[in-house]
Amino acid sequence: METELFVRYGPALLYGFGITILCWLVGSIGGVIVGFLLACLNRWGPRFIGWVIYAYVEVIRGTPFMIQLFILYYGGPYIGLLLTPVQAGIISFIIYGSPYFAEIFRSGFNAIPKGQIEAARCVGLPESRILWRIILPQMLVPITAPLTNFFIILTKETAILSVVTVPELLFQTQTMAAETFTFVEPFLVLSLFYWLMVVVTGWIGARVEQRVTRHLKRA
C-alpha cells in the first residue's frame, strides 16, 4: 500500500470524517428530538394530528432517502429554500430519521404497563410528572437497543450525502480515488472508518443499556 498517498490525502480524509460525524450527530440527534415530539403529539394530541403524523411516517418510510435529499436540495430553491449541501444534508437527515425515531418512542410508550400509570394517577401524580418520572425513565429500557440500531443505520446513510457534494468521507475518498487512479486501498480505508463508527456506536449503546437496566438486576 502506498503510504505516501495516505500522507498526502490523510488530512482531506480526516476532514471528510469530521463532516460525516457532524452531519450524522446533528442530524440524528435532531431526528430523535423531532421524533420524540411527534410521538408525544400522537399520544396526547387531538385525533386528526395523529392521522397527519401517521401519513408523514408512512410517506417518509416509503420513499428513498436519496429522493428526499434531492427534493430538499434541488427542489428547495424553487420555493425559496436555498441551502448549502451540509445544511441540506443535516435537515434531510432529521426529516428522514424522525419517523423511525417516532415509531421507536411510540412502541416505548406502549411498553409501559398501564397499571403503573394507573397507580401513579391513584396517588395523584400530575400527568407531566408521570411522563418525566414514570414513563420516560422506564421507556429507556425497551428503546435503547432499537435507538442504537437506528443510529448505526444512520452512520451508513451519511455516505449518500456525497451525491449532493457534501464534502464528507465518501466524497473525499472518491476524489482521492479519481486523482490517483487507486480504488481498492482508499475504499478499504473508508470501510475501516465506517466500521469504527459502527463499533463505537454499538459499544456506547451497550453501555447505556447496561446503565438503564441496572435496577432490573437481581442482587
Binding site: 404497563p113 397507580a119 396517588v123 395523584g124 410528572r129 432490573l216 442482587a219
Partner: protein
Amino acid sequence: MSNEPMTTKADDAIITVRNLSKYFDDFEALRDITLDVKRSEVLCLIGPSGSGKSTLLRCLNFLEQYDGGEVHLDGELIGWKDISHNPRKPLSSEALRKQRQHIGMVFQHFHLWPHMSALDNVAEALMSVRKLTKKEAREKAMTALTKVHLEDKAQNYPANLSGGQQQRVAIARAIAMEPRVMLFDEPTSALDPELVGEVLSVMKDLAAEGMTMVVVTHEMGFAAHVADRVAFLDSGRLVTCVPPQEMFGREPDDARVRSFLQTYRERNVV
C-alpha cells in the same frame, strides 16, 4: 370531632354509591348498585370472576368512568363535574387528581415503579403531590415502610423484593398519602400461597387502626374474620350485603351465593 357522639360517627357513611351502572360497549358490567361504606368499616366484595367486583372498586376512584348513578366520598361527587346534562362532563384531570389523593389503591399486580427504590416509590407522591421536601418525604416514607415491616428493604429495587414484599411496599405507597379510604383489588391473588399471610396481616393491622377499607378478595378467611360486612356480586348486580356471620355462618338463601360458597367449602377454606 371529640364532641360528636360515637354512635353517629360509626353510622356515618363515608362512601355512598347510588344506582351505579357501568357499560363496556354493549356489555352491562354493573347494574343499579346501591351501597354505603361506613367510616372505619372493612367491606369485602366477593363473587365469581366476571361478576363486576373489580369494576365496582375501580368506579369508586374513577379509574373506570361509571355511566349511570352517583358515587360520593364525604359528600363530594366522584369523577363527574356535571351529571344533570347528557352526556356527562368529567372533572378536569387536575380536580380528579385532588379527589384521588384521598383514595388509596392497591392493585393485584402491585404496579410498583421498577426504576425506583422501595423508599422512592413511597416518597414520590409525597414530593410531587404533597410538596414535601425530599428529606421530609423520605422520613415520612420510612414511617410508612416501618408500618408494613419493610424498613430494612427501603433501598431495594422492586426486582429484588418478593411478591409479598412488593405488595407491602404498594400498601405503604398508598397509606403514606393518609387517604380517607383504601381500595384493595385482589391484593393477594398474584402471590405465591406462602406469601399471602404477610400481606393479609398488614391489612388486618390497618383495619384495626380504623382505616376504612373496601377489599375485593378471594380470601374467604379474611372476609370472614376481618370484614364488618361482605357484599356478594353476581353478573354486575349486588345480590346481598351482610355481616360475615350471616354470609358464612348459615346456609345462604340465595342459590348463587350458595353455589359460590360451596366451591370454597369443598376445599375447606371456610
